[in-house]
Symmetry: C7
């Protein structure tokens, strides 16, 4: 195959077409993680939704969570190699704690996203380490303007790229899921956009999973993390709360 | 074979499918260790069971133990290269001792598991060291809530992944053993779960070994490590105690 | 193909023809970024124009900006890998801040261009890092002579070459765009040159994009950064201001 | 041959079957040393027996000894590359001296074995050094309990594995010798074990060499090192003492 | 081709014929720069002449200069990779400034040439950096003897060789140009040599370019740097001055 | 040939048979040095004999000596690469001087041999340096017991092995020479050994050279170094002294 | 060709025959330098003779000298890569200056030769630098014994070997020249040697060049460096002095 003799075996070597193959393979590693993750940014809050799927039945499902609380006001959702994910979460927590200590206020979500992206970019430029096989979503509240707080959703990829999103997804069914989200989010974007409450955002995320994976989830099979403009505090929903959302979705249909 | 020219010879190179072959080969190294190890988490205690098998008859069997006491309240069971296993146990003991010195209380089992997983993840990301060919189980008691102590069982793999388990196994017959455990543990999991005493947990582990390996073990051919919620102290059972369990199993049958 | 066995896989190895292939491939990486960027230097100001194109619809377009404010008086426009671009912008800001701190006045645009070029050259000479896959344009005002301020436009490439330009472009349609610009700029160059106001420069840039890409842009699909001799302050135009320019262009036609 | 292209040429690379070939080759290097070494643990003492064979007749046989006194109470017997062996003995002596200085009592034999194994394990995990082509036996007396001193025999291999042995051997005829020892030692192991005096242990070792190599040794062709529970002091037997043992063996036959 | 398997891909490896191919390829890289540079040493001054050719029309020609003022009394003319050239000029300026600071007088041209040659030699001996693809000419005045000042012209090549020249050239048409210069310089060399004024040296250089490249240059297409014994100060000629020389040449013909 | 693809090109890689090829090749390098060296240990002194052979006639033969005085009481004879030999002699002298300074008495010959062997062993274990292509003989007097001084002869090889010898040789005709020496030395070894005076040792060495190389040497073609128990001082014999020995040998025949 | 797959591409790898190819290739690099150098040691002085040949006619011949004055009393003549030669001369000067500073007298010629040889040997043993492609001759006066001063001539090769010579040569026609010198020097060597004045030594060297290269040299095409026992000061002969020697030679013929 024409992938070329060995361009794809060195982290820091461009192929004749100007591509860095190792980074592209890392993206494949993310996609083959076996689950799908979704983030949706509403008007008064932002939410993560993902499957909670233990690799085997004897595992304590709580050990398989993909959602990490980085600081009281920032949540992280990781997709990819679980060991890399934990390592990233660990470093992000430390960075956030040092930020708070140094500057006296919580590290904002966008600053953390930038820091994480910088970190990842460095791995793509040096020869002695592999890139992290993890895509990371971060949520938080922009409260620079007390009267007009705005929820934020960022995604950072293994190449060190990050961007703000209205909604995003990662993992196994990323392409199908992106299409579904683009269709459904249309109403809430653009100039004539409708408001999208945090609860609606949660349900949108769950519906996306249900529709893309053609599966009916039990509350125990889902993980949801939210942060509302009101509280500015990240928390994971309890199984009961998720169940309420599932009921609401099925009633709406 | 299509495993690809040399993707599998560099620790930190992704294959075009996004796989890190060296980590997968390390798992094979674990599986080819020649024995099977089992951990079972009960309601009031948690237990390790493993074969005690000297490579040759002249060896002092006590030298072949796979069970290490890391601190008074944490036990470790290793599966894989014996030299790597000892090196891990050594480092874990040191870490636990420093923790106790620094914070004034014993290092909890889950913190140790996380520390160990972090350590292993680092080996997968750098080019200059191989990963450890060892899967490690850790047991301890979560006594944050004095009135509701809970036994804990963690498994850490060479890739740096760790999770809490209700029951787990590793080594030569891992797949068969996992199936057997899943079947038998059903009754003790889920909402309508029955309580599982520590003694039952020990017997479950021994039965699993007997059934998967189709072998009748003498007490001297087994190693068992337990920690009960009551004592919060890790200890290995004596040969007599193991014999009592063997008798109880055969009587039950 | 005759590109030669492996001359093109080592950063610091000359081919028998005296070429450094990896640098040439990095240029290809820049060209395959998918968008076109333009800089035009007028008589009383200088402007950047580029497409603002989110990779997918769910992305917040503000996250995809290619224009960075490095200091109050220097703007940067990057073309290439977004993660490399951000990393360069980050370092440039830091350098500019340190310059201001050390010398008490803003870092001039040409000094910054030289510093950035030096940085890039170093990557081409060492074996352990890849070159940055980014072409960078910088604009600023030369105010050494208070009465005769002159706008400046510099472009720095991945090989560490930099030069001052009357007008320049980079990215996907670089060759077509250069031809278009050369034709249109003739009137404003040479001895009998006509003056070119900053507003004209902006419109020239937009027209170049429209004509080369054969596309009609909405204001929200463009990014424009300007700096005038009068204010000596870099700023990005608002969507309304861009719209005014678009109207002016269409009326002129 | 299927040993695989290059899995066996990198110290720290697992083969697809999870093997580390370089370690296995190091074992072969040990086996091709040209002599056989034996250690036998008795009830009141422990002994080493090995051939003393100068590579050529002009060499001073005393230079070819494989037995080293590490501290007054620990003896070492090495099998493999002589230069590696000397280097290990040198380091062990230094470690033992530092231990005595730091803790005020002699370094016990098992602690030294563990230290040596740790050392060897490290060589298997790093890429920049080869493993030591030496198997090391260590003997000493466990005198934790003054009234019940117990002789100890440890073997440390190049992979960093160590274990306590009732009897062990290494070198050219390792397999045949192990079989011979297993047969003869049966009587002294298990529950109904007979006591085995140190002198008997020495003669068992000599007989093993004679039988496996089908050779009649002169006292000058053998080296014997012993340590008894009574004296707790390691010493090498004189030629006369070895001769006495040889006479005793031939008389017994 | 027989250039040999891989002798030419390692900086510091001799081929069986005793050649260092990478250095030879670096010379090719210099020759493929696309322009020709000339230095001529007269009796009362010394001059550089080179083409001033912008790669495209939109570039500010002043950015493409190959002539650098290193200190008030030393000028540098570079041929080869522009980014390497700038890097060399930068370092030379720093070195010259430090020399002046340390010793209290300007760094003489020959000392600088030696320093630069030493620098280049080091790159040919180490494995981790490539050699600089630049040939450098340096001019200055030797004023050790106040009454008999002598102009100096040095050329330093990528291999670290340097020498004093009566006249020299580098770049695309180096061979043709050397021949032309040898023929014309004959009259000014040897024992019966005629004096050659600095102005004549400039015109000789320009004529060489015109004749070798078969092109009529405009003043704006040339760069000329001179230093006379009288002033001992390096300066670039203005466009008007160059024009005067062009007129003088055409009138002479 | 089956020497195996590349096992022999890495210093620290074992071949599948457990061999380290690079060390074996270094021994070949020693053997191809073109001359033969001999050491013979007598009862009251020890001697070196070697050819003194200038590579060409214009060379000052004194420059080609293979015998070095390391300290007043230790002599060294090197066989192999002359530059490596000198480097070893240099380091040994420094080590001996530091020993004398630190401990107040001359470094004994056996301690120096051990130190040198340790040094060589290190080169075989690390990847970044080649082993020394030199075999070294050392002579001295063991004067621990004033009344029973004993001459010592040690040989250290490139692999880091060293041993005491009654007589030894190295270089081109090593095998033939060893055979000759074994035959002639028989009378002086074993239990019924005859005494061997230092002068006899010198003549034995010279005869060995004459017989093995089938050549009649002139005094100027030989080098002899001796140290007697009486003086404990190393010295080289003068040409006249060597001549006396040659005469004695021819008269004896 | 059988030079072997890749033994010749690694500095520090022995071939199966025990050769270090890279060092042999470096000798070829010296031989291909294009000129011949000669040193002749007389009774009351010692001389260097070499061709002074500028690579092209425009070069200042003084720049092409191969003779360096290292200290007032030591001269150096280099053959090989000019940039390496200069680098060696530079380092030697520094070493000599430090020696004089430290010890209060000039560094003797033989000490310098040893230091240089040590330096070169190190390059052959490490993997990260190439060896120097230069053969170096050094001349000086041994004035340890005031009444019997002796001229010295040393040659140091790239492998780190050095020796004293009566006469020596290096470069393109080394073999022919050595033969010529051996024939002519016979009369001045051995026991019945005739005295050879320094002037005769100079003329011998010139004659050697003339005869080996079959060329008649002009004084300006030769370089001669001498040091006499009387003055103990190294100096280069002027063109007139060389001319006198040329006349003397032609008259003698």
């Amino acid at each position: 195959m024409s992938r070329g003799s060995s361009y794809d075996r060195h982290l820091t070597i461009f192929s004749p077409e100007g591509r860095l193959y190792q980074i592209e393979y890392a993206f494949k590693a993310v996609k083959s993680c076996g689950y799908t993750t979704i983030g949706v940014c509403g008007t008064d809050g932002v939410a993560f939704v993902t499957q909670l799927k233990a690799p085997d039945k004897l595992i304590d499902p709580a050990s398989c969570s993909h959602i990490y609380s980085i600081s009281p006001s920032v949540g992280m959702l990781t997709t990819g190699f679980p060991a890399d994910a934990r390592s990233i979460a660990q470093k992000a927590r430390q960075e956030a704690a040092e930020f708070r200590f140094k500057f006296g206020y919580e590290m904002p979500c966008d600053v953390l996203a930038k820091w994480l992206a910088d970190n990842n970019q460095v791995y793509t430029q040096h020869a002695y380490m592999r890139v992290m096989a993890v895509e990371t979503m971060l949520i938080g509240i922009n409260d620079d303007d007390e009267d007009n707080k705005k929820p934020m959703l960022y995604k950072v990829d293994p190449a060190g790229y990050y961007a703000g999103y209205h909604a995003s997804c990662a993992g196994t069914k990323e392409i199908e899921c992106t299409n579904w989200l683009e269709k459904k989010m249309k109403a809430y974007l653009g100039e004539s956009k409708k408001p999208l409450s945090m609860d609606q955002a949660v349900r949108l995320g769950i519906s996306a999973l249900q529709s893309v994976l053609s599966e009916d989830f039990k509350a125990s099979q889902l993980e949801v993390g939210v942060i509302s403009c009101e509280s500015s505090t990240f928390r994971k929903l309890s199984e009961d709360e998720i169940d309420d959302h599932l009921v609401a979705i099925s009633e709406r249909d």
